[in-house]
Amino acid sequence: MFTYRLELTGQQITVYCEGDIDIDAGDTFEEQLEPELAEASSVILNLGAVQFVDSSGIGLLIKLVQDLQEQERQVWIEQTQPEVMEVFQLLQLDEILGKDTFR
C-alpha cells in the first residue's frame, strides 16, 4: 500500500513516500500526487520508507520525474534504500533520469 506525505518549504515540495511503489500505486501517482505537485518549482522525492518496487512502479516514477523535468522543474530523489537503489541501478535509472537526480 503506497502512501505519501507532503512538506512544503516555499516553492519546494518534499514528498515522503511510504510503502511499495508498484502497480497498485498507479492511481495514487497519477490522480493524486501529480496534481499536487503542479505548483512547486522544485520537488524532492524522499524514498526513505520505500522497501519494494516493481517494474510498473518504476515506470510510474520515471514518468513522474520526466514530466516534471519537461516542465523545467527541479526533481531530486533522495534517501533511497540500498536494496531499491540496486534495482534502480540494474535498470539504469541514473542514465534515464540523469545522474544528478539521485542524491
Binding site: I23, F52, D54, S55, S56, I62, E86, V87, E95
Partner: protein, 707 residues
C-alpha cells in the same frame, strides 16, 4: 772406429751443417755421402727431407758418449739397449737377415727379402709385415714415423716426423688404428598412426692396412685406407617395431635399405592404408547436364559472359526430370598398428515425388507429368521433387488481359504495358518492353527488351533474407542481454514481480527501452517495416514471428512474454529464422535485363545488364555485371561489380556502391563518378581505364588503373 751421423735437413746443406754441429767437427774432418736429395713434393705432399751421412775421417777423435737426435726434435731414448734413436754408433746387428713380425703374429712368416746389397741394411713391407735384411757390418735401416703412435719400437711410440734405426732385435709394432662411428637411428611414428619412418645417421668403419714396399734403407709406411659404412642390424629395427606394436604395412626392403644407408636420411618403413572415401548418392537433374554444357565464355577483357548459362531449366510433359546416382561405398583403411579405420558411411538418396512428378518402378528416375520447371528441396537423404507449372501468355499484358498473378513460372511473348503488374512465384520471362509497369518475380527474371520507368523486384525472398540477416543478429544479441537483465532484476531483493502476472514483461521493457536498450525499439520498427514491404512473399513462419514481436515488445501495456524463459524461446525462434535467412542458396536468383531506363530494380541475386542502364536505381544482393554503359543513377551490388563503361558526362552523377569485402572492376570510368566501398567513398576526378578498386585490410580504398 768410424763414427757417422745421418742427418736430415730441408736442404743437403742444412743436413750437413746439422751433422757437423752434432759431431762438433769441421767439414774438413768428415766425408759426406748424400743419401737422398730433398724433394719439395707437390703442395707439401710427399715432401722429403734431404738425408746425408757424415762420417768422421779416421783421425782418432774420441767417441761421443751422449745420444744424438738425427732430426730437429729433442733426443729421445727409445730403447734400453746400447743404441739411441737416430744415432748410429757401431753396427750392432748380429744376424745378417732379420724378419721382424708384428707382435700379434710373432710366429708368422719367415719370408726373405730380395737379394741383399752389401753394406746397407734394408727394410721393407711384404704382405703386410716388416722385413729386414741387414748384412754383417751394414748400417741399420731406418723407419720414419709419419703419424704419432703408428710405430712402436720396443714398446715406445715414435712421434710424427721422428725416425729410428732398427735392427732385427727390436720389436717393431705397427699399429694402424682404425676409426669407427656407430650408426644412429630413430623411429618416428606419425600422429595418425599411418606412417612410421626411420631417421638414419649412418656410421662407418675405417680400416688401415700396410701396403707392400720395395726394400730400401729407409722405410716410410704406406698405408691403404678403407672406409665402410656401418650397417645397422635390421633385427634391432624389427624389435623396436614390435615394441611399438607396429604390425601392418611394413616394408622390409625399405628397412634393409635403411639399415645399409650410406647417407643420412629418412626412410618410410611402414605405411598404413588410407581410407578411401565413398560418395553419397545424388539426384541429378536432366537440365543440369544440359545447362552445364554451355560453359561461361571468357571475354577478351577478362570478364565472363554469363548470358548463355543464365537460362531457366524447363522440362516438357513426359520427359525425364532426372536420375538418382547411387552411392558408392568407401574402402576401409588400416593404420600401422593393424587397426581398421572405417570409411564414412554413405547414404543413398530417395526421391519423394511431389506435384506432377512420377517415379520409375525402381524409383531411380523421375518423369514430369506436366511441362514446367522442376523444383527440388533436399531434406536429409530425401529429395522432394515437384513440377512448377508455367503460364504462357501470348501477346501484351495490358488492360485487356489484366494483371498476371501466378504461382509458378510466367512467360510473356509481348510487352507489359502502362500500370500493369506481373507477379509470379517462380521465374518470369518477358520478350517485349516493360513500360511504366511493375514486375515481381519470386525466383528470376529475364527481359529481352527495355525496362522503362518501371519497378522490378526479383528474388524477393532473397532480398528479404539479405536485409533480415543483420537485423536478426542484432535482435538475438539484444534479447539475450534483455533476458539477463530480467534475470538480474528479478533476483534483486527489493524488486516485486507480482505485476508481471498481469502485464507480462511490458512495464519492465518500457524501462529497459529507455535505458540500456535505447535503440531496440527503432530496430524492431525497422524489422516490421520489412515485413510490410515483403508481405506477399513471406511464409507463415515469418508472419508468426513478426506477430510475436508486436505482441511481445511493441505493446506498452501488455506483453506475451512473462518470464526470462519466454525470452529464451523467442531467441531460439530468432535463431532458427536466422539460419533460414543466412543459409546459402542453391539456385541464386538473377535478373537478366537488356536496357534499363528511369527504373528501380531490386534483386536478391545477381543482375546482368546487357545493353546498358540510364538513370536507374539498382540494388542487388549478388553481383552486378554490365556489358553496356551505366549512365547516371545509383547502383548497389553487395558482392561486387564487373562493368564496361560507367559515368555520365554532364548529366548528373553516377554512383557505384559495393560491400566492404567486394570489388569493382570497370573497363572505363568517367570523371565525376562516385564509388563507395563499404563506408569509404572515392570520387573519380579523372577518367580511368581498366579500373579495379577495393578496400585493403586497413579499410583504405585501393585502386589500380590508368588515368
Amino acid at each position: 772406429m768410424e763414427r757417422s751421423v745421418i742427418s736430415k735437413g730441408k736442404t743437403v746443406e742444412q743436413a750437413v751443417e746439422r751433422a757437423l754441429a752434432l759431431l762438433e767437427v769441421s767439414k774438413k774432418e768428415v766425408s759426406i755421402e748424400i743419401i737422398d736429395n730433398e724433394s719439395r713434393g707437390f703442395l707439401g705432399l710427399n715432401a722429403r727431407p734431404a738425408v746425408v751421412r757424415v762420417s768422421l775421417l779416421p783421425i782418432g777423435i774420441p767417441e761421443m758418449a751422449a745420444p744424438y737426435s738425427s732430426v730437429n726434435t729433442p733426443a729421445t731414448v727409445i730403447s734400453t739397449d746400447r743404441r739411441a734413436v737416430g744415432v748410429l754408433g757401431q753396427s750392432t746387428a748380429a744376424e745378417s737377415t732379420a724378419v721382424v713380425t708384428l707382435p700379434a703374429e710373432e710366429s708368422g712368416h719367415d719370408s726373405l727379402g730380395p737379394t741383399p746389397i752389401a753394406d746397407e741394411g734394408k727394410i721393407w713391407i711384404a704382405e703386410g709385415q716388416i722385413a729386414m735384411h741387414i748384412p754383417d757390418g751394414a748400417s741399420l735401416p731406418m723407419i720414419d714415423a709419419f703419424k704419432s703412435g703408428d710405430i712402436l719400437i720396443n714398446g715406445t711410440a715414435l712421434l710424427a716426423g721422428q725416425s729410428a734405426a732398427v735392427s732385427g732385435e727390436d720389436v717393431i709394432d705397427i699399429r694402424l688404428a682404425g676409426e669407427s662411428k656407430d650408426s644412429t637411428w630413430q623411429l618416428d611414428i606419425d600422429n595418425d598412426g599411418m606412417k612410421a619412418s626411420l631417421q638414419i645417421e649412418p656410421g662407418y668403419h675405417i680400416t688401415r692396412t700396410l701396403m707392400d714396399t720395395e726394400p730400401n734403407p729407409r722405410l716410410m709406411l704406406r698405408v691403404a685406407q678403407n672406409k665402410k659404412p656401418a650397417a645397422i642390424d635390421p633385427q634391432e629395427i624389427y624389435q623396436q617395431l614390435r615394441a611399438k606394436e607396429i604390425i601392418f604395412g611394413m616394408d622390409s626392403s625399405m628397412i634393409e635399405l635403411a639399415c645399409r644407408a650410406e647417407k643420412a636420411g629418412r626412410f618410410v618403413i611402414a605405411s598404413g592404408q588410407p581410407v578411401i572415401h565413398g560418395q553419397d548418392g545424388i539426384f541429378e537433374l536432366q537440365t543440369d547436364a544440359a545447362a552445364r554444357k554451355v560453359q561461361p565464355k571468357l571475354r577478351e577483357n577478362g570478364t565472363i559472359d554469363y548470358r548463355e548459362t543464365r537460362e531457366f531449366p524447363s522440362i516438357l510433359e513426359g520427359e525425364r526430370i532426372g536420375t538418382i546416382i547411387p552411392s558408392q561405398p568407401g574402402i576401409d583403411g588400416r593404420d600401422i598398428y593393424g587397426n581398421f579405420i572405417l570409411a564414412p558411411v554413405v547414404h543413398d538418396i530417395q526421391i519423394i515425388p511431389g506435384k506432377d512428378v512420377q517415379l520409375s518402378e525402381d524409383g531411380r528416375d523421375a518423369f514430369a507429368l506436366k511441362s514446367g520447371m522442376p523444383s527440388q528441396t533436399r531434406q536429409g537423404h530425401y529429395v522432394k521433387l515437384s513440377m512448377i507449372p508455367k503460364l504462357m501468355h501470348s501477346g501484351d499484358v495490358n488492360l485487356a488481359s489484366g494483371n498476371i498473378h501466378f504461382r509458378g513460372d510466367v512467360e510473356i511473348s509481348g510487352a507489359v504495358q502502362d500500370t500493369m503488374e506481373v507477379e509470379a512465384e517462380g521465374n518470369i520471362r518477358v520478350r517485349g518492353n516493360i513500360n511504366m509497369a511493375q514486375i515481381m518475380a519470386g525466383d528470376s527474371l529475364i527481359v529481352h527488351a527495355n525496362v522503362l520507368s518501371s519497378r522490378i523486384i526479383v528474388g524477393q525472398l532473397q532480398l528479404f533474407y539479405g536485409q533480415m540477416t543483420p537485423m536478426l543478429i542484432y535482435v538475438r544479441e539484444q534479447v539475450e542481454l534483455m533476458k539477463q537483465a530480467v534475470h538480474q532484476v528479478s533476483s534483486a531483493s527489493a524488486f516485486k514481480i507480482n505485476d508481471l502476472d498481469q502485464t507480462g514483461l511490458a512495464p519492465l521493457f518500457q524501462v529497459l527501452f529507455q535505458g540500456r536498450f535505447k535503440w531496440m525499439m527503432e530496430q524492431l520498427e525497422r524489422l516490421l517495416r520489412l515485413e510490410e514491404q515483403y508481405q506477399s512473399a513471406l511464409k507463415e513462419e515469418w508472419t508468426r514471428y513478426f506477430q510475436e514481436i508486436r505482441n511481445g515488445f511493441m505493446n506498452k501495456e501488455n506483453s506475451t512474454f512473462r518470464t526470462a524463459e519466454d525470452l529464451e524461446s523467442f531467441i531460439r525462434r530468432t535463431n532458427y529464422l536466422y539460419t533460414l535467412a543466412s543459409a546459402p542458396v542453391v539456385e541464386r536468383n538473377f535478373a537478366r535485363l537488356h536496357f534499363v531506363q528511369n527504373s528501380t530494380v531490386r534483386c536478391g541475386g545477381d543482375v546482368i545488364v546487357e545493353k546498358g542502364a540510364y538513370n536507374a536505381h539498382l540494388h542487388c544482393e549478388g553481383t552486378l555485371e554490365s556489358t553496356g554503359t551505366l549512365r547516371g543513377g545509383t547502383y548497389f551490388a553487395a558482392e561486387g561489380m564487373v562493368l564496361q563503361e560507367v559515368g555520365s558526362p554532364g548529366t548528373g552523377t553516377t554512383k557505384l556502391h559495393v560491400d566492404a569485402k567486394a570489388r569493382i572492376k570497370a573497363a572505363r570510368i568517367l570523371a565525376g563518378t562516385t564509388i563507395q566501398i563499404g563506408e569509404r567513398i572515392h570520387q573519380c576526378m579523372e577518367d580511368v581505364e581498366h579500373l579495379e578498386i577495393w578496400l585493403n585490410s586497413n579499410d583504405q580504398i585501393v585502386w589500380k588503373g590508368r588515368e
